[in-house]
Symmetry: C2
Subunit: 420 residues, 2 copies
């Protein structure tokens, strides 16, 4: 049944899907009745919506190159393998927060998944000013579960090493992050772009800001060496689909065993981008003030609820190679252990804040921008929003160890918004 | 030519070696002329000295169990594979500081190496009060080269991940460290032993010292998650063979990609054990005072020369995925980068000091003790030395972040020695 890889099209897809029993069942009818629409607007892959008499599915197929750039930038099809493996692991811990998998074909680098409807990409919702009352608790739950339960706080050393091994060859996708997130924005690089000429000054300033560059390189070293947990690796608001009541995390093809704060920082950093982008989307100045406030409350809630859930999982855990609970059973031990967990979370908070800042900068000065800002037509307005993103981001990176809590982050965000 | 695994003996070994051209050449003559002596006094393996008309070799063969404990504790033969791989990597960087490899047989879990003579295990030299004037610079060079050059400060992310992958399944040997070094000494464990009844009080005290236990667990987490460089993994003075002019590091079967400070801490911690053990070996009180002083100077020199050589290698490096030199080329950048390197080394120093303390404690309260202390016949004298080891070790672990340099460590050691 195995087929050699070829990029599929609207025309060739139905016959391929017809060979997959679970997909056939989901779509119903004969494959000739299925309609196909290619909708991929991401940077890397083909994405098809397939509809049949009985239902719909999403088909995601990796291309052997970066879609955003073209076939001059090859990229291994194996990313689909890592995506499927990560999704399978996430499904174990938070089945309701990820799409259901119907079929995976390794040769075709193709995953058939639940078609999420009426979900939209959260980033688009944030641009429209839509509130998602359950988002913060959902994403906090997603991160607490997937990060805690794939860490040695919960699992054996052997299981941890097996997972490191399983993801270690996802080198190409990690390298994209290493280059585009941690390096290019801080040097003259062909792939960089920003809103010219408005941001020329601050782009040059960042390339010469030694403290900033060193702080970012310290985090790059952490990204390269810290095998804390299986992370999503690209957890921005474009990797989250929402309705007011439901939240699903998609696209974990950047997954590997890395630093937890990279995921948490991605969520918070992208909320902060959305915060500053509102000025480009409001009908009149100030119209989005309540929504801006809502976004910052979400950023706070994401951290606070993540912090709470992570600690609850830790308190409930009886296993885990590190900090074995049996070492801290008497009352004094329990008190000291609780304090140590708080210390751990403060350290993770600093990681989070710093990675948030780093993710914000790459979206303004690097290759891949975000729709929140890109969709602002007036370049002067866009640049004004982007400059604020950069100013807050730099502060988060430089002050990561000094900020005492998420409240300090949102206060700083308000300060940057208010500043001239 | 491949043979199934079986533990070899004095009788069966020569015929096996006779099939290895490089070994045959080294030994000379016919295999019937070769003499074999099993000399393994380590915890894990068979070790044979084989002598022929033309020369000698050492043959190290893994047993499928822990020799110290017996076949009730199985241990994978694959550790020989990791040892050979680590030795091969070390040979690239410091060929003069490791034994030459003549042959490796994966199936037999057997490595044939240079017979080092008149080298002795450094620990035995320290017991005898012998000075090794080149030791500190040699071991500093060994560590600086092997740690720096297998880190992402020197190599690409892809090479780093390949090395993580290559060592990731050395799970069983890492697990020995996780259990015996980081866990058992801090709980009631069947394998623990100490000089009873003299140390019963402090052993109990350590099991109830919440701050100490948490500090050690924090380091265990680091050992489990920090993939900084290929480390030797068991770099105590029993893994170093010396003459006054030569130094060779042996036995890297615990190698994996882990935290650099674990190796540096092992060397310094074991020097500090030797320092406190002198009271059990001097002919009259005070006879070894100059030698004690010499040991502490070596501990200082090990750190200082390691620090110096590591920074020299870093300054000379043009590659490396983290802290790419091209980001810091202008004069201001160079100054800031130099300061960041100092910060990195301070952090590595804190790791080193803490791991040193942890390695010291496991040698007094855990399963595997060291000859420095074990060879002290009078249990009261031995316990007195061991108590000092424990007292300094605890201080190193708890104050790792406060100690400003290696001088603070040796001052603390003198303080503990002088205290009643």
């Amino acid at each position: 049944m195995s087929q050699p890889y070829r990029a599929l099209s609207d025309g060739s897809l139905p016959e391929v899907l017809a060979a997959m029993p679970q997909v056939r069942e989901q779509l119903g009818g004969a494959f000739t009745q299925w309609s196909v629409q290619e909708v991929g607007d991401g940077n890397l892959n083909l994405v098809f919506i397939v509809k049949g008499p009985g239902g719909s599915v999403i088909v995601k197929q990796a291309l052997p190159y970066v879609r955003l750039v073209g076939d001059s930038w090859p990229l291994p099809l194996a990313r689909s393998y890592y995506e499927h493996m990560a999704l399978t692991e996430q499904t174990k811990h938070v089945p309701k927060l990820v799409p259901k998998i119907y079929h995976y074909d390794r040769d075709l680098a193709l995953i058939v998944m639940e078609y999420l409807t009426p979900h939209i990409i959260m980033r688009k919702g944030l641009i429209q000013g839509i509130e998602y009352p359950l988002f913060a608790s959902h994403i906090a739950e997603f991160m607490a579960q997937t990060l805690f339960k794939t860490s040695v706080l919960a699992i054996s050393a052997a299981e941890h090493k097996r997972r490191i091994w399983a993801f270690i060859d996802n080198i190409a996708l990690c390298k994209i992050t290493e280059d585009l997130v941690f390096t290019d924005p801080y040097r003259v690089a062909k792939l960089n772009r920003w809103t010219e000429p408005f941001l020329d000054d601050i782009a040059a300033e960042f390339r010469e800001d030694e403290k900033l560059k060193l702080a970012v390189q310290k985090r790059k070293l952490q990204f390269l060496t810290s095998a804390e947990a299986m992370i999503h690796g690209d957890l921005h608001t474009g990797s989250i689909m929402v309705t007011p009541l439901d939240t699903r995390v998609i696209d974990p093809e950047f997954a590997f065993v890395g630093p937890m704060g990279f995921d948490v920082g991605a969520v918070i950093g992208n909320l902060l981008i959305a915060y500053f982008a509102q000025a480009g989307h409001e009908e009149r100045p100030g119209a989005r003030t309540p929504y801006r406030h809502w976004i910052l409350v979400q950023a706070e809630q994401v951290w606070r609820q993540f912090n709470k859930r992570f600690l609850e999982l830790w308190d409930a855990s009886k296993s885990g190679e590190a900090y074995m609970p049996e070492l801290f059973t008497d009352p004094q031990g329990a008190v000291a252990f609780a304090a140590e967990k708080q210390r751990f979370m403060r350290s993770l908070f600093a990681d989070t804040v710093s990675f948030a800042g780093i993710k914000m900068i790459r979206r303004v000065l690097g290759l891949a921008h975000t729709e929140d800002l890109e969709s602002i037509k007036d370049p002067a307005v866009r640049a004004s929003c982007e400059r604020k993103v950069l100013n807050l981001a730099r502060r988060l990176i430089l002050d990561a160890d000094k900020l005492t809590g998420i409240g300090d982050v949102t206060i700083a965000a308000r300060g940057v918004l208010a500043a001239q």
